[in-house]
Symmetry: C2
Subunit: 323 residues, 2 copies
């Protein structure tokens, strides 16, 4: 069970190892949105996304013997790189199971960060079976991407920083927009804000067609997406919110906001132009919500968690064309 205490304990373990990302602002974004916009750029985190926080939290909490045997994770993206880098820095081996059709760059990066990458064929092989067999044979510990208390606690340290940095800027009230896949980051931030900045309300942001959390919050039960792929917002495509994350989201979050792919690309371009940061589509959904769905926001101030920047050059070039 993730609690504020677990997040605060994670913050102690992360100190000096994760980057305390700043809060960025631009008068041009304020004008565009018609309200004050404050951006927390987790693209500047190690490995280019907030996922490194949860990975470090999980690795650093293990006893030495367990850690030395190694960890295993399923991921084709940001969680993979976070786990690989955190494991290597802990001197622990890591195995990442990735689909053989994952982008070559992501496979190469994950290997370069020190992981053993095991590829499987989506059509003919069972990912879970491969993972379970490897975990059993080598006595590896599985680190799940979001439905794991230590991972949620690590992501929640983002919320502790937001609470403190917002207070320093005189911000006591507002909405905090968070890109939401399985809900690990959103849940962690929600718990941190509940404890340290109760005037700041977390709200999940999702791409059109993958709005499982938004619909789940409306219906009051876990809803699923029809598709599991087919969006440029690949970082936040998850079938449904997690068993552990959803109750936290349900208790603490405001309504979700859903944006189009085109809006995500336009938000990437604004982040380029006004903040000088690189966002991936799934990392720009929250900024798109702030800039283009202001009619769904009442707050005078919006804090946008810009969650990651691992984007290929061709997609980024496409975003720039919207300018």
């Amino acid at each position: 069970m993730t609690s504020l205490a677990l997040i605060e304990a994670a913050a102690k373990r992360l100190a000096g190892h994760t980057r305390r990302t700043p809060l960025l602002t631009s008068p041009f974004l304020d004008d565009l949105a018609g309200r004050r916009i404050v951006v927390k750029p987790e693209c500047l985190q190690h490995t280019g996304s907030f996922k490194f926080r949860g990975a470090w939290s999980a690795l650093s909490a293990m006893d030495e013997a367990t850690r030395k045997r190694g960890v295993i994770a399923f991921s084709s993206g940001n969680h993979a790189q976070g786990i690989a880098h955190a494991a290597t820095l802990h001197g622990a081996p890591s195995v990442i199971i990735m689909p053989s059709d994952a982008p070559r760059l992501k496979i190469n990066n994950t290997r370069a960060l020190g992981a053993e990458v095991v590829l499987y064929d989506r059509a003919s092989e069972d990912r879970d079976e491969i993972g379970e067999r490897l975990a059993r044979e080598r006595n590896l510990t599985l680190v799940k991407p979001f439905d794991e208390p230590l991972v949620i606690a690590g992501q929640g340290t983002t919320g502790l920083e937001i609470a403190e940095q917002a207070r320093d800027m005189g911000i006591e009230q507002g909405d905090v927009l968070v890109n939401c896949g399985g809900g690990g980051l959103t849940a962690g931030i929600a718990l941190a804000l509940e404890g340290h900045a109760p005037g700041l309300r977390p709200r999940p942001c999702e791409p059109q067609g993958f709005d499982d959390t938004t619909r789940s919050l409306i219906s009051g039960q876990i809803e699923r997406n029809d598709k599991t792929a087919g969006s440029i917002c690949d970082a936040i495509l998850t079938p449904s919110p997690g068993q552990k994350t959803f109750p936290i989201l349900q208790r603490l979050c405001g309504p979700g906001i859903v944006v189009t792919e085109d809006e995500a690309l336009r938000a990437m371009a604004q982040a380029f132009l006004r903040l000088k940061i690189v966002l991936e589509p799934g990392g720009a959904v929250s900024l798109a919500a702030a800039l283009y769905h202001g009619d769904q926001i009442d707050a005078d101030t919006v804090i946008v968690v810009a969650t990651g920047g691992n984007v290929d050059a061709d997609i980024f070039a496409k975003a720039l064309e919207t300018l």
Copy 2:
């Protein structure tokens, strides 16, 4: 005369108004360079470049009556935006003299930040005459872009931050590579490091064909460039180092490093890929020096000051094509 005391006084005035930019690292950049690379991303500063520091320093040091009358500056780029924004935040009017063929985006941005933009025709009008007349008629104070002690002091606060942040990372020795136009930033950083981190040696970095400072350091006297335009590194094209900056550079800097335009573009692409930050060509020259001119560097650790990110989308797209 700029001194460490003047920089420390500027730091007090800047506190809470300028952004304390973090230090960024990536194992991929370390591999590429063959040594440890630490990047200070001043592109994340307000208005997208370090120039806001010098502008705030100058504005905040004026007496209230002088400030209320307003300031004037000549600039088609980052100094213009820095002065416009700092003046507006101080409630002071600002007049920026820009060539009529300056990029429309920069003219619009400077206006949007609150300045009155006065355009002149490069071919038929005398910039200095227009500026002097306006300054006299309206009793405006000229803020020079680099050869001005208060501006150098403001830029030098970057060096105070580097000294402190490097110490926190355990870095006591190394080269600090700084993009150098007129030398205001380089001189300010040099003085700050002399006082607070004497093991860190500043070195100016320049684009090919505009290596006035590198040549001046070799000859021991102020050398000039043949050209004043014609490079994509527009932010750091200055005819020669300043009368006030050069003696400081001469006393405290190591040898300059000169890079090609293509290297600057490739460094921009690496900053995109590995650090998730947006650099303009003139802001990426120091990173290019670290990545592609390692044969001219002995230090195990290099701190790269990435000075600005105000780049048009088409130039950035060109940089991405180098990947």
